[in-house]
């Protein structure tokens, strides 16, 4: 099974039916798999804070949401994470491409990479980092943990993880 199918299967197995995405090259395969899934309503967003608003509404309507985005979005969404997702105590799994790590060809991506974990730590967001192929084994448990504790949870996925497939 390829990694993208594996990830989408874990989303579906955890009753996630509403997924919003803002694209990243590293995430192209998983976004295609989300779009292809008959069990998921895929709603592309124009900006990640908009996507988090959509997810908040879907959650209140009884559907489990998730967002797929690039780590640069942490810079875009801090206000929304704090004043909507955290303030109202809503669960939100965030599958994040961790650009700017080993293997990165674009220097500018490193500028956000060096702040990514520090920002997530400052926000008290539980953060997991998928670096090796087998790290995906934890996704199912991370999703269950997210909907148990009603918090936004970050899953950073770096270039080494994606290139492994």
């Amino acid at each position: 099974m390829d990694i993208n199918t594996r990830i989408v299967n874990d989303l579906v197995a955890n009753d996630i039916e509403f997924v919003t995405t803002v694209p990243c090259k590293q995430l192209a395969g998983v976004i295609d798999a989300v779009e292809a899934s008959p069990d998921i309503y895929h709603i592309p967003a124009n900006k990640e804070d908009e996507g988090m608003g959509l997810c908040a509404g879907a959650f209140m309507g009884g559907k489990r949401p998730a967002i797929i985005m690039q780590n640069t979005a942490i810079g875009v969404t801090i206000n929304t994470l704090v004043t909507l997702t955290q303030f109202y105590r809503m669960p939100l799994p965030m599958l994040i491409s961790y650009r700017g790590e080993l293997g990165e060809p674009v220097a500018c991506q490193v500028e956000m990479a060096v702040h990514t974990k520090a920002l997530l730590a400052q926000l008290n967001i539980p953060t997991y980092h998928f670096h090796r192929e087998e790290d995906v084994e934890e996704l199912d448990k991370i999703l269950k943990y997210t909907f148990m504790c009603n918090k936004p949870v970050a899953i950073l996925t770096d270039a080494t993880f994606w290139k492994g497939y």
């Binding site: 509403f18 309503y41 709603i43 592309p44 967003a45 124009n46 900006k47 804070d49 908009e50 996507g51 988090m52 608003g53 959509l54 997810c55 908040a56 509404g57 879907a58 959650f59 209140m60 309507g61 009884g62 559907k63 949401p65 206000n79 929304t80 704090v82 004043t83 909507l84 303030f87 109202y88 105590r89 809503m90």
Partner: protein
């Protein structure tokens, strides 16, 4: 008519439906006029009333009315193409367009100058867009509810605010009470 006049006239029409209300004075005014479990008050996060409303409408079947403002729609302009391309016929976006950022001191917005939000919504692909006067807003909302078509209403009104207390209800209480009303 100013926004609070519209909300006062509109409250009986809103009463049977799920309402996502914009940050600041709009939520404070609605809370003062007619507090209900079916109202979700935004205490922060300017711009996302339309996105939360669309997500809610797509996730369940009850009618959802997002009460937004011109300034907030300008803040989250990307919402209009997303709404247009993800049609939820149980969703109404009511933009109360007073041409100003009311909650922050009535600074003018571009919607009160050259920019037409109704024209923008149409250009984004929204199929049913209604621009109306403040006086005709209740009827426009009633028509939209009856039509079972996703509708964007731009209600042009005067800028101005009434004195209202802030909402002191805990956000988790607002959310929990609202989710109970969604399920009821």
């Amino acid at each position: 008519m100013i926004r609070s006049d519209i909300l006062r006239e509109l409250a009986p029409t809103l009463a049977d439906h799920l309402v996502i209300c914009n940050i600041g004075l709009p939520s404070q005014e609605l809370h003062l006029i007619d507090d209900r479990a079916t109202n979700f008050y935004m205490l922060g996060t300017m711009g996302l009333a339309s996105s939360i409303g669309l997500g809610l409408a797509l996730a369940q079947d009850k009618k959802v009315i997002s009460i937004d403002g011109d300034g907030s729609v300008l803040t989250n302009f990307g919402t209009l193409p997303t709404i247009a391309n993800n049609v939820a016929d149980n969703f109404i976006l009511l933009i109360i367009d007073n041409g100003s950022y009311g909650s922050t001191g009535d600074q003018p917005t571009y919607a009160g100058k050259k920019t037409s939000l109704a024209a923008v919504a149409s250009a984004c692909g929204c199929e049913t867009v209604v621009e109306c006067s403040a006086e005709d807003t209740v009827q426009a909302v009633k028509d939209a509810i009856a039509s079972d078509k996703m509708t964007i209403i731009v209600s042009k009104c005067e800028s101005g605010n009434i004195k209202v207390p802030v909402i002191t209800m805990d956000p988790v209480t607002i959310r929990d009470r609202f989710m109970g009303a969604v399920k009821a």
